[in-house]
């Protein structure tokens, strides 16, 4: 695997809150253009890993490289090559959906006002929201629409890497499947690399190229088929449990 093909490289990561060690000597690499799903039991630090990579948590030890640059000295150029969708959308409640999408553009770029509005409307259409969603406030949207609006904001600057924190949590199965498809479509047409923390076995089966399982404070990377053969008890239970069997059979794996 050449340097060019890896967009995120984590080496020897250690995160710790007080005396509780979350990750210890964790290595992870994410390839360009793949959808990586991150799974693990509650409290194993899936979201913490995501927050550490995007720079919201300071690691105790180890390095994180994103697009060939150390995240500790991350320039705003690299920062704006990442889009993040937080669990419940994290839309700014005092702004409309369109204004939310314009925030990163206003902050990082100098665009004519009319063009900014057009691009916001384009992102709204791309994530499958109706046109009248633009002037609405987040409180007027349903949970699924908020996630779509959050995704539109994450895509505002055409990022290279998209971070998703439990994107389908709280959606009904139909809405979750539609959101999975949307992520897959956008990922393919925009050539995105997606780093997705999830609990949703259907998402894992449907759209993830590789899966990172957080066990024993480290990750085990592999495809679904490789994990199925893993003998680690937690991984066994996760991928062979009744829920997993249904999800995997349904997707024809």
């Amino acid at each position: 695997m050449s340097e060019q093909d890896t967009v995120i490289t984590v080496t020897g990561l250690r995160t710790q809150f007080g005396t509780a060690v979350i990750h210890d000597d964790l290595d992870l690499s994410v390839r360009r253009g793949e959808v990586l799903g991150v799974v693990g039991g509650s409290g194993t630090g899936k979201s913490v890993l995501l927050r550490t990579i995007i720079g919201l948590n300071k690691p105790r030890a180890g390095t994180i490289e994103m697009l060939g640059q150390d995240t500790r000295e991350m320039t705003s150029l690299v920062q704006r090559r990442c889009g993040v969708l937080f669990q419940s959308g994290a839309l700014f409640s005092s702004l409309t959906v369109a204004e939310n999408i314009e925030v990163p553009m206003r902050e990082h770029l100098r665009l004519p006002h009319a063009l900014m509005e057009e691009l916001a409307a384009l992102k709204i259409a791309m994530v499958g929201l109706p046109p009248d969603a633009g002037p609405k406030y987040p409180s007027e949207l349903s949970g699924g629409m908020k996630k779509r609006a959050g995704l539109a904001r994450a895509l505002a600057l055409d990022p290279a890497i998209l971070f998703l924190d439990k994107p389908t949590a709280g959606l009904d199965p139909i809405g979750a499947a539609a959101f999975d498809n949307l992520i897959r479509d956008l990922q393919q047409s925009l050539g995105l690399t997606v780093f997705m923390v999830t609990h949703d076995l259907d998402s894992l089966a449907a759209i993830c190229d590789r899966i990172a399982v957080l066990v024993d404070k480290r990750v085990r990377l592999g495809t679904m088929a490789e994990h199925m053969r893993d003998s680690h008890p937690w991984i066994q239970e996760y991928f062979h449990g009744p829920r997993a069997r249904v999800a995997l059979n349904g997707s024809g794996t």
Binding site: S93, M105, L109, R110, L111, P112, A114, L115, E118, L119, A121, L122, K123, I124, A125, M126, G128, P130, P131, D132, P138, S139, L155, L157, D158, S189, L190, G191
Partner: protein
């Protein structure tokens, strides 16, 4: 990533306008290209070819400019062709086209500004009337529940009552004492300044006693409690509402008014009169110290004069207001808390509203008391 700013060049070959584009057509650079692409529509040529062979990288923002140029030209009857469009780039343009087509059918209606203004005024008035009706309704509900609980004292929930009394009363002693002490200092100083002109400084004591006992003590204590505890009621109950704890109470068969509202209102009914008394003492102490320090009166003289003005009537005129203010603050605080909707966003707004409403109601009630007392000649 090689950075090369995007560019466009136009050349005219007879009827045909040839536009060549190159460089990076990404969101970082489209700001500069926007105007030139818009101006293509004004070129006057009937056929346009857009040569995209020079474009090094394209994202959705760049694709939008390409697609928009073609769409806008088509609208005025000019056909535009892309030449040498990279297949990956063509896919992006198509994606943008699909997204735009999904939104094209709907035309956004522009609201008439005058109608919108009238609409907004009407809405505000109706909401205010609704609010008043609901508040009166809530008032009745609270009174009825309170009556039921008094008949069955077991339901008065002593533990949460005492807990609320600690938070609203005991923990407020410091701030109430400090502020009222300072207000006493200010009142004595200002009163003495005026009365000195008539060589009647000693009557500062009378003025201080009457003002503090009848008005200032209870009013400032009530306003502090509205800001301190009324807002806390709204935030606490509002948070429980968001977590569906209030719904859980109802499902278990507990009355939220009885469990959440009554202990808080009862606690205020007990603590605000006590705080008022404490506030009076603090303000009189502050006033006395200030007067003795700055006036030509001895401590004994001043206290004797003060004692004459400290009548039971003056004290009761102030104290009788305290439970009324307490009830208003508690009721508004709890009512606004229960009004919080499904999301946490409304908590902040309703907390502000709760404090404003309770202070307004307290001062209105105070004015009403003044009218009643003056009519009765008290």
């Amino acid at each position: 990533m090689a950075e090369s700013p995007g560019w466009v060049k136009s050349t005219i070959e007879g009827e045909r306008l040839i536009v060549s584009a190159g460089g990076d057509w990404t969101v970082d650079g489209v700001g500069a290209l926007d105007r030139e692409m818009r101006n293509l529509a004004g070129s006057g040529s009937t056929r346009v070819t857009l040569d995209t062979s020079g474009i090094a990288s394209l994202d959705t923002a760049g694709a939008w400019l390409l697609y928009r140029a073609r769409r806008d030209l088509a609208a005025i009857g000019v056909t535009m062709q892309f030449s040498a469009l990279d297949p990956r780039h063509a896919a992006l343009v198509e994606l943008v086209e699909q997204a735009d087509a999904a939104h094209a059918e709907t035309v956004r209606p522009q609201p008439n500004p005058l109608a919108a203004l009238v609409n907004r005024i009407g809405q505000t008035v109706c909401e205010a009337a609704d609010e008043l009706a609901h508040l009166v309704n809530f008032f009745g509900l609270t009174i009825v529940t309170l009556g039921k609980c008094i008949l069955q004292p077991r339901r008065l929930r002593i533990v949460s009552l005492v807990n609320q009394m600690e938070q609203t009363g005991l923990n407020a002693l410091g701030i109430v004492g400090l502020l009222l002490f300072l207000i006493g200092v200010v009142l004595a100083f200002q009163g003495a300044e005026q009365l000195r002109r008539f060589a009647a400084e000693i009557f500062t004591a009378d003025g201080l006693a009457v003002m503090v006992l009848r008005e200032i003590g209870v009013l400032i204590a009530a306003i502090l409690i509205a800001g301190r505890s009324g807002s806390a009621f709204t935030a606490e109950i509002g948070m429980m509402k968001v977590n569906e704890e209030v719904d859980a109470l109802s499902v278990i068969g507990l009355d939220p008014i009885e469990v959440l509202v009554l202990p808080r209102i009862n606690a205020l009914l007990i603590t605000l009169p006590l705080l008022t008394f404490f506030a009076n003492v603090a303000a009189l102490t502050g006033g006395t110290l200030m007067a003795v320090a700055t006036l030509d009166v001895t401590y004994t003289q001043f206290v004797r004069q003060l004692a004459d003005a400290l009548t039971l009537k003056n004290l009761m005129v102030g104290m009788i207001k305290a439970p009324v203010f307490a009830f208003l603050i508690g009721m508004v605080g709890c009512y606004e808390g229960l009004k919080v909707g499904g999301s946490a966003e409304s908590i902040g707004r309703l907390t502000t509203q709760s404090v404003v409403e309770s202070i307004v109601l307290v001062i209105l009630a105070d004015a009403l008391f003044s009218i009643i007392f003056s009519t009765l000649g008290i």
